[in-house]
Assembly symmetry: D3
Homo-oligomer: 319 residues x 6
């Protein structure tokens, strides 16, 4: 879309449109008022939408998340309040647009995701996905694995997403972690899940996870210990992918989601938890399971777009 | 659920729970306060939910329609204000419960619909479906065809549902009529579509329909002529199935739907149009494409449950 | 309604319908997908709706709570995440349906509640009420007293419910505790109120309560000390009834209520507070003052249904 | 509240605050920006709130209607677009405030209504009530009868309100017309009901009404004939009271109501129907059954406050 | 944004992205999935947002309209259902983006509008504005006048917008027509206002308008006569600008607006009224006063985007 | 409005209407059911509305806040739960009504605010403003300075409000603190800002503030240290003005605001933070930036009215 970016020779090639030219709520809603382009030359980091909710088992609606998060993201600014880093002096950032999803066909959609991530990774662009339901990380993490080999996963979520199936279906938004462990994309000991909570289906539901070596930090534990139990166990030699299912946060703070579970993290705790990961090397990020039809007053989409700001800041620190 | 029905020896075996025993908003929400049973002996008419929206191309949510319509249906009463017929003195009516849908698998869901309709039709029960998206009529009408041979279709809808495909998918909620014409379940000259309107994709979009002999009564035409153009052309020798896509009604009256088109019928016009069909022999009914996440103050679910009342009254007149 | 429960010979007579047969949002909405029956043989625990809000002084709407909580309760599962207990291997559980309330007549409604609780207690069924406004505990606790003699009360609430009257009315949703202390159903020293907060009407408003020996744990105190002050004072020799007015929780987490007071517990604190009661013997539970017209995205009804899950788990631990 | 009214020596003693002094949304919300006083000297017409919904059988909430209608009423202006009459040059108008209702006690509330109406009628003030549920017309019309003797009733409503009882209760919002016919306050041949529609409870439900000589103009008939069938039958020698149950209008136009019935009048039809009554002598008006918790974007309260404007204009024409 | 438009050599240079490449709800939300560019070469028609509501006297929020209308506009298609014209075979169409508004400064915003319209008109592009409040037509129509000399105005609106001032302010969203008549941009006899209704401030409010020769077609008249009274009086020798204040439509169909007046046109009537203008030569269009914070389920934004489709079709007929 | 206040000779001249005369939701909505008068004789404290949002840069709507806060304020009572002080035995309190704002003219509105505050301060009345956007404190604090000379400012806010300008505008709701420091109304070392958080525009955004000596307590710091860092630095020799921008609180607790930032204080933390200021001498208070169109179930307006109760209690302690 090539809008006139800040006339500031210190920022990188692509940066948000200057809000002093037009109010933040003006113009076509790209993520964070960033230029929209699919030309990846000179791009460090790209936001990409994946408007797909075909693997949802309860409330659908995440197909509308990329547009809704973009709308709220106009309030993102430039500098992280704690790190002091000016993101766009470190990173040339774009809104890549959306993956061409097929709302009726999981397989073809996964194919399109693979294709897009192939292009982004080939161009050495750091991708941030706006989901979509959580199934979309299957092709994403496989692409990551292909490029980076072994990496760890940090997952904010109310659910472990390690179910085996439902109604005979092996791929839905509650199974991606199991599928990715089975095919070797992930190793259990490098998977960290934060915000886990809620009633279980069977007594041994957590058994399989524990055998894999997955680390769970429940919402109740986070209240008492914060991120310390995770930080202690992280292998700092490998890079990480951060996936943020918005239902890791309590539904009072994030009502716009598909499978809410009461008793989650507050928004402030979510920010603190993400900031605790400062210093890790990240190869990708996503925010998933935002369902705008259930949102109110942009609570959830504003949280989602703020989390993307935090992701960008983590990435900028790496530069 | 076998709740104590009206102590009135003139009503049939199954009838709504007496509202003088408990307020209408009380008790577990079955359709119209009818008994829930799957024992079809002594049953004339059955409401059956099909909580499936896996073939939706725009806003999902119809999976929640059966429950939401049941909740609003407690205000249904017994006697039609125009016909004067007391439904439950003519018909023994139940809430059969829901088809066991698979939200991730269209094919298996169609199989379950076929199975349930097989049972209902075998027992000579007149079925009224609470959809679900409009794709669910594919297995329903095939079951009808198997039992009744040739029949006509009266369809309220903003869309013709005669698309050929989308993203290569042959079955979605915009294609059922084409599929059913292709396989001989329907014949074009016995298909009547009321409420059609809105922008078209291509100049020849209506060509195929016209070649099939489908009758379109647009919303604009309905304003001027009412149902007369349809009534003139109906073949009264064959039985009819009535499918009501709630988007045939204007979104002001039915906001809770997936693919709204402005400029539709009012609720009162919808009632009048259905009542104009008095005297036809009906073999089945449905109300589809109700999407509760977009509804407000039960506008859409109350309209849907009232339409089911109208369907029951049409059926009672046949007795 | 006798739906086919899990084919698992280890669960009790009545257990939730298997979600692998149909999705959680499918079927007629009974509490937690439990069978609906009023035959109490072989039943350990029963959920019963009391759709009555005729004693409300501010926002009504609680009459719609039983249906709305049932709708959200489909996400309840089987096993408690902390205790590890599988509820339905310990308890045979049903949805009993609703008390036949009279929305215009408090006295008759109380009579119906007494009748229903008489039946449940005679059959040694542990009842969990879905209110309704808080006045409904008057007949409930009187029935409990008749069966169990002396017992203690643990009450989550923003208000003490010890008012004497309003506009000359002795029975409304702000007076039940006073009435029950006056008639000897409760003794002040065994009444524990958690979450109390907000402006008072007069300087001596709390005086009467203190004279009765009631223990107050304000929301502010809970923030600092948790449940410890209550746990220290509980007499573990007597059984307890737990009544949960959802306004004990902050309106951000439970907007759907009639008399909200800002500054309450979070959902997670509510869960922790209930779990702190592990080991007590409970003779009954309720969740009251949920007002669906003010809810958003099922925040309040999901919290309510999750609390019922917690109550069931407490009961299962007693087995 | 005695705010500075328009400095215009042509208007009467009490008139709306000049919107050029402060914007319409400013100031404490009295009806139509009118002065609030309970001193009836020099007053021609008074708006009075009756915040009571204790006789509601389905959705409550009408207790909040007087405040909500006042809020929307700031957009009322001075001159009727069709009659050309400047209301406040003809009528000195106030907001009297509310009747002191008791939300838990119908009888006492009726007593307070009687007391207030006694005062208003004694002072020859024309009252316009903001309900409240429809039961409030029982004491209102009895007070009218006492002052004026025989008068006719024009009622906009989806329901006839001639039920005999529910759950043994003789007074609820569905019975006022029967009670008032029984006690001689009304005579059936002078009762005109417009907008009647919807399913009936029994075949003979309308029998009693017809025997009384009540005239029904159904919503369907209104579509075809307008008010003509009513206008033909009105006895122009007697004065009339106009009661407007907002559910006479379709829920698309008036979602904020307690017992919605689809298929009603549009807002424009409602205005036209009221305007058709021009020339009758009116002794009082009300708008009832507005339930703000179910409203959206002030649709219903704006309609209600506009109808009050129409009532005032009808009254001004009589001057 | 240059997305790959339909590979169809019959469409013009700029046309909507093919929905078979990605679902309609996918991708960055430009109007109607059109390419975004500010290069006007080869462009026939351009949609331009004016996110400004600084001249609003009641409910603000229209600043968010351009983005919200864009979001709903993905359901626009290609061919008009009545005219049969394929818009994009006649017209090369773009989304130009937004005028750089200053939310705090009316004057500077008007300057920016003038600048943008200067560019568009210089390039012979037909502009369609997405407002913004109704004040924005002041600079728009002045630009039109500069280019085209005398032209007529067709205005859908509940209000005449001919007020002189409020609180001493000469420019607000209720005064543009008076300002434009005063400065000679418009001539009264060529101004046609449709949908006018509602209470007036003074008896002579309409006097000034009549003296100017403005034609009013009230909503009540439209019900009875349709557009005939306007069509009779139109001077077909001059070109027209069409301005559509969404409050011309009834708030049931368009709740998301700032100054709603009950009793307006239905959506279908609005479509019919616009279509009645077929054959006129148009020099510009706008849709104004859409206020998304008051909308529900996209009712108003979908109507707005459909009206833009109708405008494009009117323009295509001129080609 | 002079309604009959509590017949209790211990309360001051003006006190809330007795809720035992009429229910809290009854009567014309003044703040806290207080008498409305503009006669300042015998008045200690006055609530005054400022319905102005003309300086808003993102979501408007605060113009509707005074009315909406008044509506929710009926639940305020008399006695502070922690201090035990009966407000109305200490303070004679009124609802003064609203400042005559001009929604289109910041300058004139500021003039009207100055005029009203001049009157209130001359009469030695302690004012509590219901905003309005945050720009309204410019004339308020200037009036305070004129009367009291030097005073400190305690500000709850997500933002520092020390921006220099936007789009060339020096006065908007993000600049008041800078303007008031520039003109000497405030001194930086006596300005305390609590709840600050969120992305920054530039690296040196906080530099200017620090040079002025402003104390920031971020939301993150508040979580860890509470108010201690502020309490340590307060100069207890000067009086204070407390300004509460509701966006200091997290949007989950206060969704109805214009510029939400995730990660803020909870409602309970807000109450505790205000209570920590006990003992300071206050010369005025306000609650600003409440935007009702974005609120849900009165969450934000109830919080706002409860904060006003806390302000009154702080003032009562000073007596």
């Amino acid at each position: 879309m090539a809008h006139p970016t800040t006339k500031n020779n210190t920022v990188k090639k692509y940066a948000p449109k200057n809000p002093l030219l037009s109010p933040r709520f003006g113009d076509i809603a790209t993520f964070g008022r960033l230029p929209h382009t699919q030309n990846l030359s000179g791009v460090d980091i790209a936001v990409v939408g994946i408007p797909f909710d075909g693997a949802t088992t309860y409330r659908p609606g995440a197909r509308f998340a990329p547009r809704a998060i973009r709308t709220s993201s106009c309030m993102n600014r430039n500098v992280h309040p704690e790190y002091g880093v000016h993101i766009y002096k470190k990173l040339s950032a774009i809104d890549y647009g959306d993956v061409n999803c097929n709302p009726l066909n999981l397989k073809k959609t996964f194919g399109e995701i693979s294709k897009t991530y192939g292009l982004l990774l080939k161009a050495d662009v750091l991708p941030i996905a706006l989901g979509g339901d959580h199934s979309v990380i299957i092709p994403i993490l496989r692409a990551m694995h292909q490029k980076y080999g072994h990496f760890g996963l940090i997952q904010f979520d109310a659910h472990t997403d390690t179910a085996d199936q439902a109604w005979g279906e092996k791929i839905h938004h509650g199974t991606p972690i199991r599928r990715l462990l089975e095919d070797g994309t992930l190793r259990g000991r490098d998977v960290f899940q934060i915000g886990i909570r809620g009633p279980l289906t069977s007594e041994d539901q957590m058994e399989w996870d524990r055998k894999q070596g997955i680390t769970h930090l429940t919402a109740e534990e986070y209240q008492k210990k914060g991120m310390a139990p995770v930080l202690r166990k992280l292998n700092r030699k490998i890079p990480y992918y951060l996936t943020f299912d918005v239902d890791g946060v309590d539904p009072a703070f994030a009502p716009g989601t598909g499978t809410p579970v009461v008793g989650g993290l507050s928004s402030l705790q979510a920010l603190e938890a993400v900031r605790a990961l400062k210093g890790l090397r990240f190869i990708g990020f996503d925010i998933v399971e935002v369902s705008p039809p259930y949102d109110h007053a942009e609570l959830t989409t504003l949280l989602a777009s703020t989390l993307v700001f935090e992701f960008m800041a983590l990435a900028a620190l790496n530069k």
